[in-house]
Amino acid sequence: MITSPGLNLEQYWQILPPDWPGGFLWHWLVFTIIIIVFVLLLVMGYIWLERRGMGRMQARLGPNRLGPFGLLQPVADAVKVLIKEDLVPTNADKVVHLLAPIVAFTPTLMIFAVVPFQNGALLADLNIGILYVVAISSVSTVGVFMAGWGSNNKYSLLGAMRNVAAVVSYEIPLVLSIIGVVLIAGSLSLNQIVLAQDIPFILLQPLGFLLFFIAGCAEINRSPFDLMEADSELVAGFHTEYSGMKFALFYLVEYAEALAIASIITTLFLGGWRGPLLPPWLWFVIKVIIVFFVMVWTRSTLPRVRIDQLMALAWKFLLPLALINLLITGIQVLAWPDALPWGVIFLNFAIAVVLVLLWSKLFKLGWGRVEV
């Protein structure tokens, strides 16, 4: 069995035999709807936060007409884009063009099945939790590729190719920085990782957190790594030929992926649902929003990187640092006495600062040369 009841669902399993599919189906239906509503609401909140936050950071107002503080703007945008005409290019591969947004969206939604909103995941507290997340999120790439190829458009194809190059490169430092956390927590299950965080792992793993944040932002193509939809070069990248509801789905994927990465960062490094006074799910939502705010902040601060810089950053900066971080974490897990957590925190922060400074001295991105 890969599913286990979360929350207080033991009643279901007592009324019906555990093998009966009906009980499982009810559980599945109720919590799937809860998760979809959660994702949609937070994505709308994210869009509002991004547009208003970037507005403030760029010394302008942002959308402020609809509702208090422009809060209803994402709803109006959603309605607008849903009732738009759906255009498909004449030479497009119709089936692939239609399936691409669905293939991109489904895995993103499936990630939330294992995210613990409180003690115990909503749908399935998998024993292989974080491995499942990494595996499932790699399927989204296929959807992007389908969109790029199915549109029969050179810009779309170029955008999709860039996306795949980025995802394949950044997956490695991403997973290596996760392993540091798994080493300390001693489990792959997301809920076990949260339970192990008496000290949030961002303090024990500052370098790992930094690497995961950068690699995660690159993986979901947020600015400054938004090369695959670089507006000035590729029109809109892989979703150039999409309109109406399918475009809405891609837009949703973009922010749902940001939400997923924020949830994983919260779970792995920031103590997940744990926190004093407030209910666990509220702590979780607050932390997720803070992480996303930092993403918005980096987006409006940093300029977009070139494709060669993108690759160089992954292979020459993130990968060596992730390996060193893994080695140091392994040594500490084996040799450091449990009684001295504060010493290891100071040591790890010092190591992180020294390594980042050293590596930025050792190599500068591209040295102004352009080579791909």
């Binding site: 069995m1 890969i2 093998d19 599919p21 499982f24 030479n91 591969d93 089936v95 692939v96 998998l126 024993n127 292989i128 491995l131 499942y132 990494v134 595996a135 499932i136 790699s138 399927v139 790439t141 296929v142 590729f145 389908m146 190829w149 029969n152 194809l157 190719m161 795949v164 995802v167 394949v168 997956e171 792959l188």
Partner: protein, 163 residues
């Protein structure tokens, strides 16, 4: 175990149909997509057999890694916008495939399979780790296989490198 039976038959039918589509579709890109569907249904079968770690690795390696590489390779072929039509080697390929199918089928039917009576493991990861890294573990063969793959990659790079 009615749920598992239903799941098995759904996954098996999807897997076989996807595998047939890989062969019969004229469009290479669509073939690659059906291959991904086939990999996913195999991963689903692993999940129903309590091999959750293996299923996740199947998705990670085959769907996220190998399929993406296959698609990337297709992108580098000619006439990609028309789906790379196949060449004239269909009959020889059909013969080779039939012979291979015959060999595999003969082997499957004539092997005395050992059925384990042990119950499925509740937590697979810890057991895999102790098999891999514990006393008399399989870490050396795994490392040797990894080195072999690395050597193959280096060899390929040396072969295609421009002087």
């Amino acid at each position: 175990m009615i749920g598992f039976d239903v799941a098995f038959w759904i996954l098996a039918i999807i897997g076989v149909i996807a595998a047939l589509m890989v062969v019969f579709l004229r469009n290479v890109f669509r073939s690659a997509l059906s291959l991904i569907l086939c990999f996913l249904s195999v991963a689903g079968i692993y999940f129903t057999l309590s091999a959750d770690f293996l299923g996740a690795v199947q998705i990670l390696v085959y769907v996220g890694g190998i399929s993406v590489l296959i698609i990337l390779a297709i992108m580098l072929t000619r006439e990609v916008q028309r789906g790379s039509p196949s060449n004239k080697l269909r009959i020889p390929a059909f013969i080779v495939a039939i012979v291979f199918l015959g060999v595999v089928g003969y082997t499957l039917l004539n092997t005395p399979w050992q059925l384990s009576t042990a119950a499925p493991l509740e937590h697979t990861t810890a057991n895999i780790a102790s098999k891999l890294l514990g006393e008399g573990g399989f870490i050396l063969p795994v490392e040797i296989a990894a080195t072999l793959l690395l050597a193959a990659i280096l060899g390929a790079i040396v072969l295609v490198r421009e002087k």
